[in-house]
Symmetry: C2
């Protein structure tokens, strides 16, 4: 039995998961980045941490079978399976209003940070700290001189990553609305969450 | 006129700086990592952010003349000058009690996180969020397969980085007490702060 939630383009959604629950984060149309955030359900000041995870796995991003840890170095998610090309990012902050202002956008623009805040608020969590996201399918090459690039997501329709909750969590996902920098390979698309 | 503060091995210290003030962070004996943190003085929930800085400079670490920005993407520090080999890290979390437990240490071990918390508390700032540090002189090579390494700091005695405050800040620095992983090239040493 499973349930699939469609996150419309440029929007976000949060779900509660119990320890042992699994979710497939699917790029249903291809070329789309999904910003993923995980918070401990009983204390949202503990959340997945990019900088602690890098130290934990000795890599810029975990491989299948490896785990993301929290800012207290406790496992929170296992990257169980990956049917995508395996290109993901854990170097870049979520896009936010100041990012779009810096890119020359006038007025409001949807952002992963606002999507996260709205999705968490809908579950009663206001005023959260903004963790550095797990940017699934995001293609940020690192050059020999440590320059980073901004390339289109290399996913095909239906590519997916399966994540297992290692404790009771709130998982938030944003279908990244970035349409100035071309990481979303054209126009931003939806993301599906299949709760297994 | 300048004032130099010696931070003893394994300890930390925080200072208030006004916009325009400069500080030289000096490795007086060589082979020592300095964890640096910068908080806005009027609101310590705004602080230097590794993930926003990488996006701002399109690199894993700023070059001389470039700036570190906050979690609201506003410049907070300029990397004005660097007389060291130019090897620094902005990928790894500060060492903390759980890091040393994971490395097999029994009982208490000094850590950059506790040094930061103590130094900030001494200036009246309790309960701060722990930012991902600017790890000056820390040698974390990134392999083609995205593996990260843990190499000794390549600094010689007297190597230094000059930082300019871009707003009124609290700057905290920890002389990293890591003595299990050999990033400090032997035993942990002191760090000097020369306030210019």
């Amino acid at each position: 039995m499973s349930e699939t939630i469609r996150i419309p383009p440029r929007e976000g959604h949060a779900v509660r998961m119990s320890a042992g629950d699994r979710v497939r984060v699917i790029d249903p149309e291809g070329g789309q980045v999904a910003d993923v955030f995980a918070f401990c359900a009983d204390d949202v000041s503990e959340y997945h941490s990019a900088e602690h995870t890098r130290v934990y796995v000795n890599r810029l991003f975990p491989r299948a079978g490896e785990q993301f840890v929290t800012n207290r170095r406790r496992p929170i998610l296992t990257l169980e399976a990956d049917t995508s090309p395996g290109i993901h990012d854990m170097l870049c902050a979520a896009c936010d209003p100041s990012r779009y202002t810096g890119l020359g956008v006038e007025g409001w623009h949807a952002s992963c940070q606002e999507n996260l805040q709205k999705a968490m608020a809908a579950l009663g969590h206001e005023g959260i700290e903004i963790p550095q996201p797990i940017n699934l399918f995001m293609n940020i090459p690192v050059g020999d001189d440590w320059e980073i690039g901004w390339e289109p997501a290399p996913t095909s329709a239906g590519d997916a990553v399966t994540l297992r909750a290692e404790r009771d969590i709130v998982l938030a996902v944003s279908a990244c609305p970035q349409d100035i920098v071309r990481i979303n390979a054209g126009s931003p698309g939806p993301i599906d969450l299949e709760l297994l």
